[in-house]
């Protein structure tokens, strides 16, 4: 993985010193809240309902054991013993005192981490496929490009005061696990007919109150032109993006209002001015970054097949976990493991200090010291020898993180919602917990099959409800929480925005409604291999509306 060079170390240390001084001046009253607010946001510090919240960047979701152990240490020493992994592959702490944040940032800097650009109208943490570097189906590891973008975008003077925040995601496989079409810029690493690496470029995706699927504006951008082309996009956005209305300030609105053809023309025109200048990536630089992401030298471990076969016979729990949470690796003797942070009835994405430390140990012992945070709020061990899977499983059982539910209905994305968030209008987490408990039976979940359920506690859509196969949006209506259901959303290579199915449900009704939707699907699917999303696309909303609301129509 990427290691800081001297410049990176100096830069992060300088930022810690600068923010430490700013915090001290704020606490002493030398600067006002109005002056301090933009400074704290640039360093990932929010004020939420109960306390400050610190959001720490995990670049493209990649961590090592030492870093995760440090997050556990921070959780224990400065917070309340846990952290929350987010859909931007970051981690948030919910209770830090402002006066402790300089010490936290210093601790983070000691393991090459920081909280820079995790808030504010700048380019946020660049996200990537959580199986990057391990996936059997990838053309190239997307993380070197994400790292190049990170270096280019960090405190970029021209792009530090954009009309609104800006999010970039990169995938290196046809199968999109990074939700690139829901991003301001989505990059799909691919090869052209000549076998050269480059990108399909998508622009203008996003969720929030106006969900939009990104538009492909270039089918193939040569690798060397990554930064010049992204600069061209950002320049057009920075110049023409709306600053009069924050709800219309994202690039998706500019793309929508300008039209794809015209905005593509503008971007291409800007790019013509830039493409052969200093932003062209030298091959040597790309290779230098690639070298940081060289895959670990994984020795052949052919005994894995036999070991897995025997362990399956020995343990039903292991066998189920293997089927659900373990995926193919590019090396046949290895596998990539999803550590579910969605235990039945638990808070999606939360991990305790001791769990973080234990997972760090597991990564160091069995996974070449590599970890990923997925945008679906789970942790990933990208390189585990199949021969070691049972040992990893046993270690996860010991810390309560062996739930075999990856991609099933209880693998729910949920934002913090009104339990923590100052912007939320309704709670998300208790709804996720209740649904997870209702569908606790693994047998039932597996019968239902792949089902992406996503919950947001307000229209800002941090819980990605628009692109859930089943999406739930919590709003406040007449002083009570009301949950609106959308169906048919998807965040993969066939991205779609879900459709609102009808009137919302109270917190007491919503789990029954979800169960009714699921039962309706089970009743109409053509066969057990037809996933919920495929069945919905085939039949549309009518049968689900009928199941949910028919009684009301008849009564009325």
């Amino acid at each position: 993985m990427y290691r800081y060079d001297e410049f990176d170390h100096d830069f992060v240390q300088a930022r810690v010193a600068e923010f430490t001084d700013q915090v001290q001046r704020r606490l002493s009253g030398e600067i006002t809240e109005d002056q301090f607010r933009p400074l704290r946001l640039m360093n990932g510090v929010y004020l939420q309902l109960h306390a400050y919240m610190l959001r720490i960047a995990v670049p493209y979701g990649t961590l090592n054991g030492k870093q995760l152990r440090m997050l556990g240490h921070i959780a224990r020493k400065y917070d309340k013993g846990y952290g929350h992994f987010t859909t931007r592959q970051n981690i948030q702490f919910n209770w830090p005192a402002l006066s402790d944040i300089p010490a936290i940032l210093a601790d983070l800097a000691s393991v090459e981490m920081h909280a820079i650009q995790t808030s504010g109208n700048c380019i946020r943490n660049v996200t990537a496929d959580h199986f990057a570097g391990a996936a059997a189906d990838e053309v190239a590891d997307p993380r070197p490009y994400a790292e190049i973008l990170r270096q280019w975008s960090s405190v970029h003077p021209e792009f530090s005061f954009l009309p609104r925040k800006f999010k970039i995601a990169v995938t290196g496989a046809e199968r999109d696990r990074a939700a690139i079409q829901t991003h301001d810029i989505g990059l799909h690493v691919k090869k052209n007919a000549a076998g050269e690496l480059g990108f399909a470029v998508y622009v203008g995706g996003g969720q929030g109150r106006t969900p939009m699927v990104a538009k492909k504006i270039r089918d193939f951008l040569p690798e060397a032109d990554l930064l010049s082309y992204c600069t061209a996009i950002l320049r057009v956005y920075n110049l023409y993006g709306r600053r009069d209305n924050k709800y219309k300030a994202r690039i998706k609105i500019l793309v929508h209002e300008t039209g794809v053809e015209e905005i593509t023309r503008q971007i291409e025109a800007e790019w013509q001015e830039l493409k052969d200048a200093e932003l062209k990536l030298p091959e040597a630089d790309i290779q230098a970054i690639n070298a940081y992401f060289a895959p670990p030298a994984v020795p052949d471990r052919p005994e894995g097949d036999q070991a897995v076969k025997l362990a399956r016979l020995d343990s039903k729990g292991f066998s189920e976990w293997l089927d659900q949470n373990v995926v193919t690796h590019r090396h046949p003797d290895y596998a990539a493991v999803t550590i579910s942070l969605k235990g039945i009835g638990e808070v999606p994405g939360d991990a305790s200090d001791s769990q973080m430390e234990a997972v760090a140990d597991i990564a160091e012992k069995y996974a070449f010291d590599e970890l990923r945070v997925s945008h679906e709020q789970n942790l990933i061990l990208p390189h585990v020898a199949r021969a070691d899977l049972k040992a990893v499983y046993d270690a996860l059982v010991d810390i309560g993180l062996a739930t075999a539910n990856s991609n099933l209905i209880s693998d729910i994305i949920a934002c913090p919602g009104l339990d923590y968030c100052a912007l939320a209008t309704a709670r998300s987490i208790p709804i996720a917990q209740e649904i997870s408990q209702r569908f606790a039976s693994l047998e039932r979940q597996r019968e239902i099959g792949e089902l992406k359920l996503k919950i947001s506690g307000c229209i800002n859509a941090c819980g990605h409800h628009h692109v859930g196969h089943i999406g739930i949006l919590g709003v406040e209506k007449k002083g009570s929480e009301l949950y609106q259901v959308t169906l048919g959303g998807s965040a993969d290579e066939n991205t779609s925005v879900g459709e609102i199915i009808g009137r919302g449900f109270s917190s007491e009704e919503i789990t029954d409604a979800i169960e009714q939707i699921v039962d309706t699907y089970l009743g109409l699917r053509l066969n057990p291999n037809e996933r919920f999303i495929d069945a919905y696309r085939r039949v549309g909303p009518a049968p689900f509306k009928e199941a949910l609301y028919a009684g009301e129509t008849k009564a009325a």
Binding site: R26, G29, H50, S99, Y420
Partner: protein, 101 residues
């Protein structure tokens, strides 16, 4: 009726104006029954903000239930108690500890 709430500058903890200072629980917050009392609380809040004691100062609706002040809106109820999914955390944790003792 209204009470004045804010978050303490140094640690961000939710506080309510009570009896000449900022209390960590809402139960005994100063109640404003009329416009004049609301204006007084708002002025106190503005002064505390200017004095760098607190941030995010707001007047919120409240009722009195069993002799204790309770916020009206769910958002403010959760601020006053803590996360509903972690009753071991936030103000409610302290209250439970007191009840258990």
């Amino acid at each position: 009726m209204k009470v004045l709430t804010a978050n303490r500058l140094s640690d961000g903890i939710a506080v309510w104006y009570a009896d000449g200072g900022w209390a960590e629980t809402v139960g005994h917050a100063d109640l404003a029954h009329d416009k004049a009392a609301e204006d007084r609380l708002e002025a106190l809040g503005a002064a505390a903000l200017a004095n760098n004691e607190v941030v995010d100062v707001n007047l919120i609706d409240a009722d009195v239930v069993d002799g204790l002040v309770e916020p009206v809106r769910l958002r403010e109820k959760i601020r006053a108690a803590g996360p509903t999914i972690r009753t071991d955390l936030g103000k409610q944790a302290g209250l439970e500890a007191i009840r258990a003792a």
